[in-house]
Amino acid sequence: MSAAESQTLDAGAALPQQKTDYVPILLPFALALVAYPFVGSFSTWLTLTLAGLAMGMMIFAMASGLTLVFGLMDVMNFGHGAFISVGAYLAMVAIAPMAGYAHTDALGPGLLALLPAIALAMIGSAAAGYVFERVLVRPVYGQHLKQILITMGGLIVTEQVLYAAFGPQINPLPRPEALHGSIDFAGAAIEKYRLFVVIVGLVVFALLQFLLTQTKIGLLIRAGVENKEMVEALGYRIRRLFVGVFMAGSALAGLGGLLWAFNQEQAHASMGGEMMVLTFIVIIIGGLGSVGGCFIGAVLVALLNNYTAFLLPKAALVSTILLMVVVLLWRPRGLYAVTSR
């Protein structure tokens, strides 16, 4: 057979074109629609849905870095919560000198007061992530049991350092005045802060998606999640990428910690550790290494938690676990399987 003939045969082979798996994307919408008749009132449903979306965005910010670290580096970082707490405390430090701006009702100065807090929380958490990776994680690459032990140890040490530096008490962290109160929409009271969090979450998701799909670094991260060895065989130093991703993941956790602390209007050292179970559930539901899956997983978990807490308060705690069980029975590697793990 000539090459020309074989090429013709090959080119003519019927193969599927690129398909986007829309089913997971539709799940949050389906959940919201299913919940509506049970909730009954439109305004209550809208309030619950927006609160769920805001909660989902905060969990997404905290979990997105963890899923990349898990997927790309195969590192079980049980200390990821440390960066959530660090972010919350750094926000507290940064907002204090901005009290003049934070106490005005105007939106502009209110948001301006948040900017240094966001910057310090993210930069500080990224720096903490760098130290964490160099000191704790690097010596135990490829050793899962040691990773669990040492990263949990790192979380405990970080918590104790925060207690030593800021005291054991729960620290009040009021939001800027401009983000207090609510907006009336269709009979529902939409909290301004929740709206702000949804916008921040969407921006973070859009930036991450852009980075991962439109830049070469993003391609390397996605390729590295799938096959580190081949990325190295193509001539790229994956270790440097690991450090960068670890720092970026820590920065996102710091941002999540800031958003969560302002939502609770308090900061305490154990708040990161308390969020770890939820973040792990989200990245498992989404599929390890998948940012899109993590986003959908976070929104699903938060919406379900909110609806269940309203309809069946006693079942709220188990609802997220049940959701994870159902998703894993349906798709054992999560909504969007990226790695073979």
Binding site: M1, S2, A3, E5, S6, Q7, L9, D10, A11, A13, L15, P16, Q17, Q18, K19, K216, L219, L220, R222, A223, V225, E226, N227, E229, M230, V231, E232, A233, L234, G235, Y236, R237, I238, V338
Partner: protein, 241 residues
């Protein structure tokens, strides 16, 4: 050999407790296609992975263009000019065909003329340019894996069993591609179980047995000697034609 691009001398490789390569010695001359043949488990894939730095040589030396590379990390080996097409193909299935090629082109955007040249052999890659690589057939994944290795000019291309499990039509396209690469002066070290393919593209041959080189010579000589084939590979040419 004076025109040797790559030379392995007394290379030993251990994987965990297992001693796989027991002093491998051979050279790959510049501009030629050297076949690495042998029964399953002879150490062919381990040899390629050791050259690439994916597994460390525990003893011996690997020289590439006169420089020692056995202690180099894999990215440095790749940047020295060695490309690998692994047995598993190792395409990034979550990325599109285009994204796979863009990643392989380290020095900038893929060259349009070279891309057109590759599409000449593998038109399916053009057809499914924006498709997720995971949706390609086995043969098309192999084409993508090879395209990734040749999208930029490399000094040495290591290819591990490219025809494994492929239909005759696709094997034909692969042979044509390899022969075109040869005509372009590429240096190739090719592991292959299909003796017909080895005969068609190989200039030289090294036969491995139990982690050592058992025979080295011209491919044509081995192809012409049934008894030697029987002794080295446990096959006769007739049974593989």
């Amino acid at each position: 050999m004076s025109d040797a691009l790559l030379t392995l001398s007394g290379v030993h490789t251990h994987i965990g407790r297992y001693h796989i390569l027991h002093g491998v010695d051979f050279s790959v001359p510049k501009g030629r296609t050297t076949m690495l043949l042998g029964r399953n488990g002879a150490g062919k894939t381990t040899t390629l992975r050791t050259i690439m730095g994916l597994w460390r040589a525990s003893q011996g030396s690997i020289n590439f263009e006169g420089a020692s590379i056995e202690k180099m990390d894999t990215p440095d080996v790749a940047r020295a000019g060695i490309a690998l097409v692994p047995e598993t193909m190792a395409i990034f299935s979550d990325l599109t065909v285009r994204e796979n090629i863009v990643l392989a082109a380290r020095d900038g955007p893929p060259d349009e003329r070279r891309l057109a040249w590759i599409f000449g052999f593998f038109p399916a890659l053009k057809k499914f340019w924006l498709s997720r690589a995971g949706t390609l057939s086995g043969g098309q994944k192999q084409m993508l894996s090879i395209a990734r290795a040749i999208i930029e000019e490399r000094k040495l291309i290591l290819i591990d069993e490219p025809t494994k499990g492929l239909s005759p039509a696709i094997v034909g396209a692969l042979i044509e591609c390899l022969q075109e690469l040869k005509r372009g002066g590429a240096t190739i070290l090719l592991v292959e179980q299909n003796f017909r393919v080895a005969q068609e593209v190989g200039d030289l041959v090294c036969v491995m047995d139990s982690g050592r080189i058992a025979h080295a010579g011209a491919m044509a000589d081995l192809a012409a000697d049934d008894k030697l084939q029987q002794r080295l590979l446990g096959l006769s040419l007739d049974s593989h034609q």
